[in-house]
């Protein structure tokens, strides 16, 4: 007989449109992070480190990279005879075939998956945060409180609380009230979007709310359970970083190169696992200069790297200068090219003698709320021809040629989008 005390459902179907061209052809949880990882490695590693060995990963938007990354779960020890990792895309039914229309709707459509494992508790996770968390101690809290639902919360500075959904609790940590992005927050306990449900409660709520359009945990399921049962707030105190915007994504990558990073990947305890496709060591040439950087396996550095996060297999050509940038797996930067504050996604080719991140800052003409902070953002598999100058707050996606750059220049605030969904 199959029985799992707690299984996890990981919502990985979102696009993450605020990451701009980085997610134009991959889902946000598949975006590279910290040199060799992908965002989804953090919740997956947390699961196995917490003793949760059954994880359903719900995919929808551009799942190919996620599927190849997760495979049968070998890197996380999630290749199990019973349980392990399962990819759960939306599927056709005899009637009512539909996409996942909301977070709770996605879980509802996989009721049978959860039933198969006969769990007592179900852990609901998202795929867009960087953190190390012991879900087992959250479960202990849930059991101790005999809660129907436990919501993971993190104390934030009260002046920032208005950016989050906050929970107002009594002394026993039972949640009395929720406030979504309150102007005058009465609590600083922000919701992390992580829930433990007692399985019976979740099942009942999902079935009851199955006709709800775009059924969502925050908007529908939690209020429903709040009316009928007890929701407790588990307080997590540790590093937790949203990487949902280009700015926060860039910042949390840069925090890893601090002398003693707040989020320390070098600890023996609570390892983060990932699929390592590149094994060899990196080569640092005679003429290279590296100051404050983390660099992935198999990279070759012939130029200068300052304050940057360099992924596996990246080649930085001779006389290059790379500053304050994130360069992802397999990208090649041609000789004599200067890169200032850029995020360059996987398998790009940046030509020789280019200058990225130059000129005065001008707000982005297309999506100023996404492409800002003076950053250059280049989507995966892009090509930038030799000898071009690229301004700040710019976005490039796809194979560009010299014809795309009038007088060899992409002015600050401009974009060239030739591949992927134009989002």
């Amino acid at each position: 007989m199959i029985k799992k005390e707690m299984i996890a459902m990981l919502l990985a179907g979102g696009q993450g449109s605020r990451l701009g061209v980085l997610t134009s052809s991959i889902a946000k949880p598949a975006v590279a992070f910290g040199g060799k990882y992908r965002i989804i490695d953090f919740p997956l590693s947390n699961c196995i480190n917490s003793g949760v060995d059954t994880v359903g990963v719900l995919t929808q938007y551009q799942p190919l990279r996620l599927n190849t990354h997760i495979g049968i779960g070998i890197p996380w020890d999630l290749d199990r005879n019973v349980g392990g990792v399962s990819i759960l895309p939306p599927y056709e039914k005899s009637k009512n075939s539909e996409w996942y229309t909301g977070t709770a709707n996605a879980i509802y459509q996989n009721l049978k998956y959860m039933e198969y494992y006969n769990p007592e508790y179900v852990l609901i996770l998202g795929g867009d945060h960087i953190y190390k968390m012991d879900y087992e101690s959250m479960l202990d809290f849930h059991k101790q409180k005999k809660a129907d639902v436990t919501l993971a919360t993190i104390p934030v500075p009260i002046e920032e609380a208005s950016r989050f959904g906050v929970a107002i609790t009594d002394a026993e940590k039972r949640i009395l009230e929720f406030e979504e992005k309150p102007a005058q927050p009465r609590s600083n306990l922000a919701s992390m979007g992580i829930y433990i449900f007692t399985w019976k409660v979740l099942k009942e709520a999902l079935i009851e709310l199955s006709d709800q359009k775009g059924c969502d945990f925050g908007k529908h399921v939690i209020p429903y359970c709040h009316e009928r049962g007890s929701i407790y707030a588990y307080e997590y105190n540790g590093y937790w970083k949203d990487v949902g915007t280009l700015q926060s994504y860039w910042e949390s990558n840069m925090e890893l190169i601090d002398l003693i990073p707040e989020f320390n990947l070098y600890e023996e305890f609570w390892k983060i696992y990932t699929k390592s496709e590149v094994i060899p060591p990196q080569y640092i040439s005679e003429d290279s200069v590296i100051e404050r950087a983390i660099i992935g396996e198999g990279a070759e550095i012939y130029g200068q790297v300052y304050n940057s996060v360099i992924g596996p297999g990246v080649v930085i050509g001779e006389n290059c200068v790379v500053r304050d940038s994130i360069i992802m797996k397999g990208t090649v930067i041609g000789e004599n090219t200067v890169v200032n504050k850029a995020i360059i996604a996987e398998n790009c080719y940046i030509g020789t003698n280019c200058e990225l991140g130059v000129f005065d800052e001008v707000p982005n003409s297309w999506k100023p709320d996404i492409y800002n902070n003076g950053m250059v953002t280049i989507g995966e598999n892009s090509i930038v021809p030799d000898r071009v100058k690229i301004g700040k707050n710019t976005a490039i996606s796809g194979g560009t040629t010299i014809d795309d750059y009038p007088r060899g220049i992409l002015a600050s605030g401009e974009n060239i989008i030739k591949a992927g969904d134009r989002v």
Binding site: Y266, S276, I284, R292, I294, I295
Partner: protein
Amino acid sequence: MRALGIILAGGNSGRMHELSNKRAIAAMPVAGSYRAIDFALSNMSNSHVQKVAVLTQYNSRSLNEHLSSSKWWDFGRKQGGLFVFPPTITNDNGFWYRGTADAIAQNLTFLRNSHEPYVVIASGDCVYKLDYNKVLEYHIEKKADITVVTTEVTNPDELDRFGIVETAEDGRITNLQEKPLIPSGSLISTGIYVIRRRQLIELMEQAAEEERFDFVKDILIRYKDAKQIYSYKMDTYWSNIASVESYYRTNMDFLDKNIRNYFYKEYPDVYSKIDDLPPAKYNPGAVVKNSLVSSGCIINGVVENSVLFKKIFVGNNCTIKNCVILNDVHIGDNTYLENCIIESRDTIRPNSKYVGEDGKIKIVVQKDDRFSIG
């Protein structure tokens, strides 16, 4: 599948000095992220040899640890798989492996119970890439009884470690001398053989009966005229690491771009156990020139012309030149290292100085408790 594989990984060599005190040569870390046996195992896997036996004997703990899962080389299969055979006491045998032929002879059941028509025999202490199918095709084309893979050794100082091969025009081996004092040529046996399985069983049964235990002396040399033994010459990179000098040189070879690209970038890949270490980190004070750096390293000092294996901490104000530093080494502040091989899991105290004088390589084995020093 046409062939099964046997990897001889039981050996020790006095030429490795202290380096073999804690592991078999096949388990020696090589080229930053690998162990010596990864090359033979990856060649087997990439040649679609799906069933491989590793024969171990000497100091096999660290080798067993490395082979604890077969999935890294894709041997976790229903058909075939990876088998590790140490010597065992049985009803009719109470001996250790008394030689390479004896090691195979003691595992004849494995050979008898298989159905693959050919056997590829390789040793676990060589660094190379080879498609064994090419050797097998040659073997079949020549109608050979045994095919020996050979290569030219360019460094004359190394010749006395190998078997020297002389061949006729058509590749048939006319003479084979094991480690002669005065080598008659520079073509050597790499210790890689292809042989028909039934032929191997027959030869091993015969050798066991006559109490002959060495594959080179008692099979190759003894049968050189009685059997058709052919030489398959490989002309790509091949290196045997079983001496301190060649171990050091082989690691340093990877600083050469051509050799690096050949192993790291060209098809097919070499596989190894994944250690889940974070990317290498360069802190202020790090100056790294012409070096290989593996995952999990944290560098605060100067590193030149060196190979840093996994998880090495280089303290502030250190200088490391022409060194090979094995896995999981902590180097305290203000340390100076030159021409050294630093044994794995060493802790080098702050302000230490180790120099291999006159171009000689110094092996540093330093077992201080990491957490008791300041």
